[in-house]
C-alpha cells in the first residue's frame, strides 16, 4: 500500500511537498501545542518576580559571552544533581526566560541556583581572573566586563519588548528602567541620597521588584555601572526569583525522597 501510494506521489512534486509537510508536521504539533494549553505544565508561583533591568542586562551579557555553552541552568530530578546543586528546577522558574538558558553541556557546573552562594567580590574576582580563586579552573577570563560601561539608556525598550512577549512589566518599571539599573548598582547609602534628585531611586526599585532585590556595588567600583555589575547582579538572582522549588520539594520530603524516586538512579548501583 505504502509503496503504491508513494509510487504515485513521486511523480508529482507538489504531492511530495504536501506529503512531507503533513508527515513531518505531526510530531512537533503533538508535542509542542499541548505545552501551551495544559495548565499544570508550568506550576503556580505567586511570589515569582521578574528580572530587574540590571539583571536583564546581565542576562544579555551572559548570552553574549556564550556562558550557556558550558554552564547549564537546569537541575534534573536525579539524586546526584539535587545533592550537588539543590532542589531540582521547576518550569515556573524559567517562566520569564525569553529565551530559556537550560543549556546542553556542563563543562563547568550548573548555575541554576548559584545566586547567593558566593559573594559579589568572589564573582568579580572570578570573572576577571578565574584562576586567582580556583587555581585549577579552565574557565576563560572576562576582564573586559569591568572595563566596559553598561549601556542603560535603552533598558526601557528592552522591558517593553519583554512585555510584548508576555512578561508582566508594569508601566512604572518601564518608565524607571534606566534609573532602576543605576540604583541597583549603587551603594545603598548613595542610592538613597540620589533618590532625592530622582536620578537613581533605590527605594522605588525595591518597591517595584520586591524586598529580596539586592542593591550592591557588584563590581566594587561605585563610580560607574559596568557590564560586570550587570552580570554579577544576574548571577546573584539565579534560583532566587521564587521559593517555589524549595517549598514544593520540602513538602514532598516525607514521601522518602522524591528526587531519588524520580531519578531512578540508585546510589548503590553507581558506586563502582
Amino acid at each position: 500500500m505504502i509503496f503504491n501510494t508513494h509510487y504515485k506521489i513521486e511523480k508529482r512534486s507538489l504531492a511530495l511537498v504536501l506529503g512531507i509537510l503533513v508527515v513531518s508536521g505531526i510530531g512537533g504539533f503533538v508535542e509542542i501545542a499541548p505545552l501551551f494549553t495544559i495548565d499544570d505544565t508550568v506550576e503556580e508561583a505567586p511570589d515569582m518576580r521578574v528580572y530587574t533591568p540590571l539583571e536583564l542586562a546581565g542576562r544579555h551579557i551572559y548570552m553574549r559571552e556564550g556562558c550557556y555553552a558550558c554552564h547549564s541552568q537546569m537541575i534534573r530530578t536525579l539524586r546526584d544533581d539535587v545533592d550537588r546543586y539543590g532542589p531540582y528546577s521547576l518550569a515556573v522558574e524559567s517562566q520569564y526566560d525569553h529565551p530559556m538558558l537550560w543549556g546542553s553541556k556542563r563543562t563547568g557546573p550548573d548555575l541554576a541556583r548559584v545566586g547567593g552562594k558566593y559573594s559579589d567580590v568572589w564573582h568579580t574576582r572570578h570573572l576577571n581572573d578565574p584562576r586567582s580563586v580556583v587555581p585549577q579552573s579552565i574557565m576563560p577570563a572576562y576582564r573586559w566586563l569591568s572595563r566596559n560601561t553598561l549601556r542603560v539608556d535603552d533598558l526601557g525598550g528592552h522591558l517593553v519588548a519583554m512585555r510584548r512577549v508576555g512578561v508582566p512589566y508594569s508601566d512604572a518599571m518601564i518608565e524607571h528602567a534606566t534609573a532602576d539599573a543605576i540604583a541597583q548598582a549603587s551603594p545603598p547609602a548613595l542610592a538613597a541620597e540620589a533618590a532625592a534628585t530622582d536620578v537613581a531611586d533605590a527605594g522605588g526599585l525595591v518597591e517595584r521588584y520586591g524586598e529580596a532585590t539586592t542593591v550592591s556595588v557588584f563590581d566594587g567600583n561605585p563610580g560607574v555601572v559596568t557590564e560586570m555589575d550587570a552580570l554579577v547582579a544576574y548571577l546573584q538572582i539565579l534560583g532566587r526569583l521564587t521559593d517555589a522549588a524549595t517549598r514544593l520539594q520540602d513538602a514532598a520530603e516525607p514521601t522518602a525522597g522524591l528526587a531519588l524516586e524520580l531519578g531512578g538512579n540508585e546510589p548503590g548501583g553507581s558506586e563502582q
Binding site: Y7, M63, C67, H98, P99, W102, R106, P140, H158
Partner: protein
C-alpha cells in the same frame, strides 16, 4: 563564471545589488548606536564587491542560446570552493577552542577572541558554511542530472548561493561582536533570520521549478531528500526564530517563547536541524554520488521509500530527548525516547541500503579512496544513529547528558558521516565539473582519507572516555552517602582527554586543508588543459544529448 549570464540576468543582478547595498547603508545609519551598524556596512560591502565582479565582466559577449541545452553548473562550482573555505575556517576555529579548553590562558584578553564567542563561529562555520554550501552546490548538480533538466533560471541560483553566504558571514561576524540570541544552532538575530527566509523561499521555488522541467516521469530518491531538507528547514527556522526585536535599529530581540515551551521548541528545532539539515540533505548526496561512483544501482527502492517516510515522520518527535529529567513534562520526554528508538529502523535502512549498494563493487572500495570516503560515511551514519537512539534512552541519558559524550556523539555524526559524504561527493564532482579525468592527485585523496579517519578515531575515543568518566564521577557516592567527587575533580579529570581531542581535531583539520589544496590544484590544471588541449571526456553528459544518466532510477514496485 559569469559567461552564461544574459543582459537581462545582469540587469536583475545589478538591481538586486543596488537594493542590498542600499539596505546595508540604511542599517548602518539607523543602527549607528548598535553593533548592528557594522552588519549594515558588511552587507553594503558584500554588495559592492559583487557589483565590481559583475562590472569587470561588463564587456562579455551575450551567451548563445545553445547554453540552454546544457546543465548550468557555475553556481555549483563556486559553492564547492566556498564550502571548502568555510570548512577549513570552521575546523581551524574548532580546533583552536578545543585547545583553549585545556589551556585557557592561551586566549588573548579580547572579547571577540574568547571561547564563548568563537564556539558558535565553529558550529555555524562547519554546519552552515561548510555543510550548507555543500548541500546547495550538490543539490543544484543532482537535481539537474536526475531530472535531465537545466536549472530553472540563471540569476536565482546565484541569489540562493551568495545570499546564503551573506547569511553565514552575518552569523559568524555577529558572534564575535556579541550578536546572538543564544539558541544553539539558531544564534543569528532577527534581521539575519529574515534574510535567510528570503533566500530559502527562492531556493524552494527554484528547486520546484527545476523539478517541474524534468524529463523523467519519476522524481529520483535524492530529490525527495533534498526537498524534505529545504521544506522542513524552512518550517523549523521560522518557528524557532519567532522573536520581538527591542527596536528595528538594534540587533537584540527577545524570543517569543519562554521557559519550558522555549526549551521544547528549541530542541524540536535543534534535533531536526540534525535530521533535515545534517541528515536528509546528505542522504540526498549519498543516494546520488555513491551509486554513481560505485557504478551500481541502489540496492532497494522499497527500502528507500520506507527510510524516507520513516525519517520524515519519526524525527520530528525526538527533540525532547534533549530534555530528559528536566522540567519538561514527563509524557513529552517519554514520547521523545520512544520515537528515538523507533528511529533506528529507517536510519539503519538507509545505511544498509547504501552499504548493500556496494555489493559487487567492494574491490573498488579497496582501491578508490573517494568511494571509501562514502562507504565510511554510511558506516558512521549507522553507528551514530544507533548511538543517538541509545543515548535517548532515559537512564542512559542520565549518565551521558551534559557530558563530553554528547560532543563525541555529535562529532561522530558530523566528522564521520556528514563531512565524509561531502568529501566523497566533492572528489567525484570536482573532476566532472571541471572536465578532468580525475583529481589533481589521487594520492592526496588517500592521504586525506587516512588523516581524517585517524583524527576521528582519536577524537571519538577521547571524548567517549571523557564523557563516561565525567558522568560516573558526578554520580559516585561514598559509603556515608555523600558525593565522592567535587565538580572540580571531574573537570580536572577531563584535561588529558581534551588534549587528545585537540590532536585528533588537528589531524582532521589537516585533512580538510589537503582537500582544499587538491581541489584548487585540480581547478588550476583544468584551466591550463582547457586552453591547450580539448577537454577530457566527462561522464557528465549535457541534456541536449539526452543520454540516460548512469544512476539507478526509480523502477515500478
Amino acid at each position: 563564471m559569469l559567461a552564461q549570464l544574459t543582459a537581462s540576468d545582469r540587469r536583475l543582478a545589478r538591481l538586486v545589488l543596488y537594493i542590498v547595498a542600499a539596505a546595508g547603508l540604511l542599517i548602518a545609519v539607523i543602527a549607528r548606536n548598535d553593533p548592528m551598524s557594522v552588519h549594515g556596512m558588511i552587507i553594503a560591502l558584500f554588495a559592492v564587491v559583487l557589483f565590481m565582479i559583475l562590472y569587470s565582466a561588463r564587456h562579455a559577449p551575450e551567451p548563445g542560446a545553445d547554453r540552454l541545452g546544457e546543465y548550468y553548473d557555475d553556481p555549483s562550482k563556486v559553492g564547492i570552493v566556498l564550502s571548502l573555505i568555510w570548512g577549513v575556517i570552521g575546523m581551524a576555529v574548532g580546533d583552536w577552542i578545543a585547545w583553549l579548553m585545556a589551556f585557557p590562558e592561551l586566549s588573548p584578553d579580547a572579547a571577540w577572541a574568547s571561547f564563548g564567542r568563537l564556539r558558535p563561529v565553529h558550529t555555524s562555520g562547519v554546519i552552515f558554511g561548510f555543510g550548507g554550501n555543500a548541500l546547495i552546490a550538490t543539490s543544484f548538480h543532482v537535481v539537474q542530472r536526475s531530472c535531465r533538466a537545466r536549472l530553472a533560471g540563471q540569476f536565482s541560483p546565484w541569489f540562493v548561493l551568495l545570499g546564503y553566504n551573506l547569511f553565514c558571514v552575518l552569523a559568524a561576524s555577529g558572534y564575535i561582536m556579541g550578536i546572538t540570541q543564544s539558541k544553539e544552532y539558531a544564534e543569528p538575530e532577527w534581521y539575519a533570520d529574515i534574510w535567510l527566509v528570503v533566500v530559502w523561499v527562492t531556493y524552494l521555488v527554484l528547486y520546484l521549478r527545476t523539478l517541474a522541467r524534468r524529463q523523467e516521469p519519476h522524481i529520483y530518491v535524492a530529490n525527495w531528500y533534498f526537498l524534505a531538507f529545504i521544506l522542513v528547514v524552512a518550517v523549523l527556522h521560522i518557528v524557532n526564530n519567532l522573536a520581538m526585536p527591542v527596536t528595528l535599529a538594534g540587533a537584540k530581540s527577545y524570543s517569543a517563547f519562554s521557559g519550558v515551551q522555549d526549551a521544547m521548541t528549541q530542541w524540536w528545532y535543534g534535533h531536526n536541524a540534525v535530521a533535515f539539515f545534517l541528515t536528509a540533505g546528505f542522504l540526498g548526496m549519498l543516494y546520488y554520488y555513491l551509486p554513481k561512483r560505485a557504478g551500481r544501482p541502489i540496492y532497494s527502492y522499497r527500502m528507500s521509500i520506507i527510510s524516507f517516510w520513516g525519517i520524515t515522520f519519526l524525527y520530528m518527535w525526538v527533540g525532547s530527548h534533549h530534555l530528559h529529567y528536566t522540567a519538561l513534562p514527563h509524557w513529552v520526554q517519554t514520547l521523545g525516547m520512544t520515537f528515538s528508538i523507533m528511529l533506528i529502523v529507517p536510519s539503519w535502512g538507509s545505511a544498509a541500503n547504501a552499504l548493500l549498494t556496494l555489493n559487487g563493487a567492494w574491490h573498488k572500495v579497496r582501491t578508490d579512496a573517494t568511494l571509501r570516503f562514502m562507504m565510511v560515511a554510511a558506516v558512521f551514519y549507522g553507528l551514530s544513529t544507533f548511538e543517538g537512539s541509545f543515548m535517548a534512552i532515559r537512564p542512559v541519558n542520565s549518565l551521558s547528558h551534559y557530558t563530553d559524550w554528547t560532543i563525541g556523539h555529535v562529532h561522530s555524526g558530523a566528522l564521520g558521516w556528514v563531512a565524509f559524504i561531502i568529501f566523497g561527493s566533492f572528489y567525484c564532482l570536482v573532476p566532472w565539473l571541471w572536465k578532468r579525468e580525475s583529481m589533481y592527485s589521487n594520492k592526496l585523496v588517500e592521504v586525506h582519507f587516512w588523516l581524517a579517519l585517524a583524527g576521528i578515531v582519536i577524537y571519538l575515543i577521547s571524548l567517549w572516555n571523557a564523557g563516561i568518566t565525567q558522568g560516573l564521577m558526578w554520580r559516585t557516592y561514598n559509603e556515608s552517602g555523600t558525593l565522592t567527587y567535587s565538580f572540580l575533580d571531574s573537570m580536572i579529570a577531563m584535561i588529558p582527554y581534551y588534549v587528545a581531542r585537540g590532536i585528533g581535531g588537528f589531524l582532521y583539520f589537516l585533512g580538510a586543508c589537503v582537500a582544499l589544496y587538491n581541489v584548487i590544484m585540480t581547478i588550476r590544471t583544468a584551466a591550463d588543459n582547457a586552453t591547450t588541449a580539448g577537454v577530457a571526456a566527462s561522464p557528465d553528459l549535457p541534456v541536449s544529448r539526452l543520454e540516460t544518466v548512469a544512476v539507478a532510477r526509480s523502477t515500478a514496485p
